[in-house]
Amino acid sequence: MAAMILSARGLTRHFGGLKAVDGVDFDLAQGEIHAIIGPNGAGKTTFVSLLSGRIPVQSGSITFNGQDITRLPAHARVARGIAYTFQITAIYARLPVYDNVALAVQRQGSRALRRDTMAALARVGLDDRADQEAGTLAYGHQRLLEIAMGLALKPRLLILDEPTQGLANSEIEGFKALVRSVVPDTTVLLIEHNMDVVMDLAQRITVLNFGRLLAQGTPADIRANGAVQAAYLGG
């Protein structure tokens, strides 16, 4: 198998008695598109939040690019190349679309801020809305803006938390093309409920259930897996 860009061992996070993430071992190959699926409340968002540093790790360890990042604060992980887009859209609603993306672009130390920002917006087709207040965008466009912010960080690992939620079918096609265009320079970890998108995009799939790893494999493996069928795909 290709080199691992990220490895987690025994990753755990409990909320009181609730075992949101419970001893998960996980490896992400350099350049792959990897999907995480699982029922609502399975711990998917919590799991990737541990990877991005948004939530502190309770126990276990994470290495990224060969270095231990378990205790690194979130902003420092972004600097190392881990970008996270929120499940619940977290754009700067009162700022112009332009500023939303410029904030990500300037973090990369861009020398031509305007040009690079417009290019990042053009990638998701929002360049003609640069001056609009972000909160007034249609929901689907807000999701695209969120993705544009993640991409503008030029991350080595892009974590997308349910990016297609609220997108129209036509927009989903564009989204799939976008994701394909960033690999293999960027590794993509994708939480997704839309099984068509998952089966279409992902090279490997991880199934979480009750905070534990239920199964892992290629789309074909997962389709054929009885336990997954029972827990998630609805038989």
Binding site: R54, A79, F86, L103, A104
Partner: protein, 309 residues
């Protein structure tokens, strides 16, 4: 471009004003300009970065006393003005290192307590600071590169110079990448963190810049008006810049000046007709909250002047 022109025009207007103003208003405008520098500093922390501090009197007082105490030691404006600037910045750095571990209401309380501690320290060291009564600066110290700041024109010119530099620096700051990050912190700290910005560092930077403004305003005030006293480090001087900023428009570059100007004349005019000028201020603020919660310029910006920085 449009906004740079506007700000330059305001500076030019204030420059021209000195030739037509009667002496009383001449002094008033000089005072408002230097207080507006303080307010701009407050606005950088509060309006742009979202840091609701109740302790800015400490930074103003640091500049004021740095200049005042050095003046007693024989130094003139060339040394005391930069010293005041630094004093404000350093005190803000020290306070920020501790206070920025908290946020929201705790941050308000912690900054308030620091400022009160500073105020009490000034009173405690009465023999040096003059305590409650303060002290008058030696005439020789009120001198900047040969100009006597006790006279009208040099005093006005210093006020205007501080104001102009502060205003243009403020404009440059809010249009810079740092300014954008400050606003991002105010709007959504969690999001900003996930774009790779360390909230603590960004807020500390903003607070130190804010402290530099307050400090140089304090030093300028001491030099221009020749008096240093503990009342300038008291709670009123933490509340006043907030009111000026709220009145003029938080998160606007000219708002702090407009707010300081209006409030000053509101009190000035009302106290000439009634002793209840506190009530006039109260009513004005109430009207503000009801009809223009974003302040004057904030409201204008919403109603069409979208380019207003």
């Amino acid at each position: 471009m449009k906004s740079l022109a506007l700000h330059l025009a305001v500076i030019a207007l204030l420059f021209a004003l000195q030739f037509v103003l009667p002496p009383y208003h001449h002094t008033n405008i000089a005072r408002v300009m230097v207080l507006a520098v303080f307010a701009m500093g407050y606005n950088i922390a509060f309006g742009y970065t979202g840091l609701l501090s109740l302790g800015h009197a400490l930074f103003f007082g640091a500049g004021l006393y740095a200049a005042g105490l050095m003046a007693n030691g024989g130094w003139t404006g060339l040394a005391t003005l930069p010293a005041g600037l630094l004093a404000g910045g350093l005190v803000a750095l020290a306070v920020g290192m501790l206070a920025l571990r908290t946020a929201g209401v705790s941050f308000m309380i912690v900054t308030l307590m620091f400022a009160q501690a500073g105020y009490l320290t000034i009173l405690y060291f009465g023999p040096v600071t003059g305590g409650d009564e303060g002290f008058v600066l030696p005439a020789a110290a009120r001198n900047l590169a040969g100009f006597d700041l006790a006279t009208e024109t040099p005093r006005y010119t210093l006020g205007l110079a501080l104001f102009a530099v502060a205003l243009l620096a403020n404009l440059a700051l809010v249009r810079s990448p740092l300014g954008r990050v400050m606003v991002a912190m105010r709007e959504n700290e969690e999001r900003s963190r996930m774009l790779g910005y360390n909230p603590f560092t960004v807020k500390l930077t903003a607070l130190v810049i804010s402290g530099l403004y307050a400090g140089v305003a304090g030093a300028g005030y001491a030099l221009m008006f020749g008096y240093v006293g503990a009342s300038f480090a008291a709670i009123q001087y933490s509340i006043l810049p907030m009111l000026w900023v709220l009145l003029g428009g938080a998160g606007t570059v000219l708002g702090p000046f407009i707010g300081a100007l209006l409030m000053f004349y509101l009190i000035d005019l009302s106290s000439s007709v009634t002793t209840a000028h506190q009530m006039v201020v109260g009513v004005a603020l109430l009207a503000l909250v009801l009809f223009a919660p974003k302040g004057l310029l904030g409201t204008l910006r919403e109603r069409g002047l979208k380019w207003l920085p």
